[in-house]
Symmetry: C3
Subunit: 259 residues, 3 copies
Amino acid sequence: MAIVTLLTDSGENDHYVAAIKAKIISTNPGIRIEDISHKIKPADIGHAAFVLRAVFRDFPKGTIHLVGVDSTGNRGDSFIALQVEDHFFVGCDNGLFGLITDKNHQTLVELNSINTISTTFPERDIFAPAAVKLASGVAITSLGKPMSTFKKMTDRQVKATKKQITGTVIRVDHFGNLITNIPREPFDILSKGKAYTVQFGGEKFRRIQTYYNQAEQGECFILFNSIGLLEIGIYKGNASELLGLGYDSTVNIFFEEQV
Amino acid sequence: MAIVTLLTDSGENDHYVAAIKAKIISTNPGIRIEDISHKIKPADIGHAAFVLRAVFRDFPKGTIHLVGVDSTGNRGDSFIALQVEDHFFVGCDNGLFGLITDKNHQTLVELNSINTISTTFPERDIFAPAAVKLASGVAITSLGKPMSTFKKMTDRQVKATKKQITGTVIRVDHFGNLITNIPREPFDILSKGKAYTVQFGGEKFRRIQTYYNQAEQGECFILFNSIGLLEIGIYKGNASELLGLGYDSTVNIFFEEQV
Amino acid sequence: MAIVTLLTDSGENDHYVAAIKAKIISTNPGIRIEDISHKIKPADIGHAAFVLRAVFRDFPKGTIHLVGVDSTGNRGDSFIALQVEDHFFVGCDNGLFGLITDKNHQTLVELNSINTISTTFPERDIFAPAAVKLASGVAITSLGKPMSTFKKMTDRQVKATKKQITGTVIRVDHFGNLITNIPREPFDILSKGKAYTVQFGGEKFRRIQTYYNQAEQGECFILFNSIGLLEIGIYKGNASELLGLGYDSTVNIFFEEQV
């Protein structure tokens, strides 16, 4: 029996999340439901895409991810189910899914084409039934009409030259740590045999460390985190507040030939 | 095996919710527990009743709903188990259960009459054992002495005449949307062949729409929501903050003969 | 199949908790995971220890408690698994486990000695695999090298004489209630045949009650709570805010011979 994960912006003080779960359980009580988060900021598809991208591959292949973030989207957005990297996703084609992977989809269908229910609560009335079908072994191709493509938005891009990598903060996490879009690979290549300076706000550092606790309490740390991205923080402090940086702040790494 | 849902005002940063779950699991590890919410405002039985009423019927019949909101109630309030609309409820007779349905109960017992445990934590020590018994197939009649009635409070009433429907906001949800107590049925009947104006705060609108995304971002929407109640919001905005309206605000619909 | 509980300071708006769960499920889909809390204040091992101590014994013996609070600890802190009071705990030896019980451990091993993974996310990469092994029946002794002792911190102590018990507030809970470290036993012994006065802030009371609802709404209550500790609150109010007391505030009980 497959797992259905839930990722929504519905919060936890209303009936919305329970209504989605109740729908799933009522249809197939054997399904295992796992919450990813219901604390996505309302309609913030960037926040949702960051969280989903960071964790979906940790679930077993074949897991169904029901995504209820900005589900009303814009007029004309379809409700879709897609298979990509051997995972299934069900939600609104509002651009979010284009941000979670660079791989091509294996299958993509438009749910609306079959399910023509008029609803203001698609998570409960359209996504949950589709997720239950997938979890129960129904083929994704039977859930709707094939589509050729889904919405792709251009994510913030990292610029890398021999002299410089420039990225931005794409997430301030629960601890106030600043997670950037700078991956480890270009840094490893470009930093070979070179000294470097990491610069953000008014700060400059000449070392990227390996573990959080290599910084003293209250000191700044810079490391490649558990999802392979450059992360800046204050050890046992809130870097976003203390450094005055946040979403979209610029982070530079400058390389110089060592003499 | 039946499902036990949990609805409490205990928050999530203490041991309270885990203690209830541990008690259930320790007694019968096969029970499926589903959280409805633990974010009910402390002792706010109106908030709890709104959430429970909105979702309990979505769970399978026979589900046991353990309600730990204002469980100490007022001196003299009984702890009860009741069956209504083929669902079971366990909690304190503080008026909450009278707000979730207009139907008569099928069975009603006073838990205290059998279980005379002295406790300051009835959710763990009285409600959880009762819920486990129900989930394990024990008859509700064996949990306590039959009672003839439980506390009924008068909910805010909608006034409807040929010229006007007047209701109030009964819930500001996570998105800041204003959910009123005005149901769809009287509107459908009274609006036949008539123009209408929806009025709240200083605003007047002449259209109730069908979907959220028929409004533009930042525009006001008015629709009958997924639980059949009139809902007012700002598309991708927080209506409560932006309109300065909240719990108990008045909403009117005026009808006029079309000329 | 054993249960794995999770207690972290990771919050619920990132991918962290889902990543831990995904790791567990991917390895052994039959494991039952129960959240204790993810709302521990970042790196607050006192908060975490209070919650864990209050609830771990309510779970069945053999339950595995994965603790991800201040997991990076201080440089040199080991990652450990221990068995105590027939429960298993997996986490960082940062002092937290020394605060949850006064009993000696049954078994204690250092996880690092076998698992030498370099990681900035030990909950996912080290604790979760260890918890899965324990839940799957692997002996704790096979998870690492035996250690003789783990970090013990001195908890705030209660002072008790024939004339006086002095304790402190060790937790302000979700309701604003002030939970002290004063247990029922010394009070029961010392109060025999004596009048007493409970004093905190500028307040003095001459009665410890049995139930919350023996106070009127807005009145102060003092009772021994469901975990056997003296608790002070305002009935249906927030005592911490209303009394201006909080973590570490002093509470005295004075005894006097009755004439």
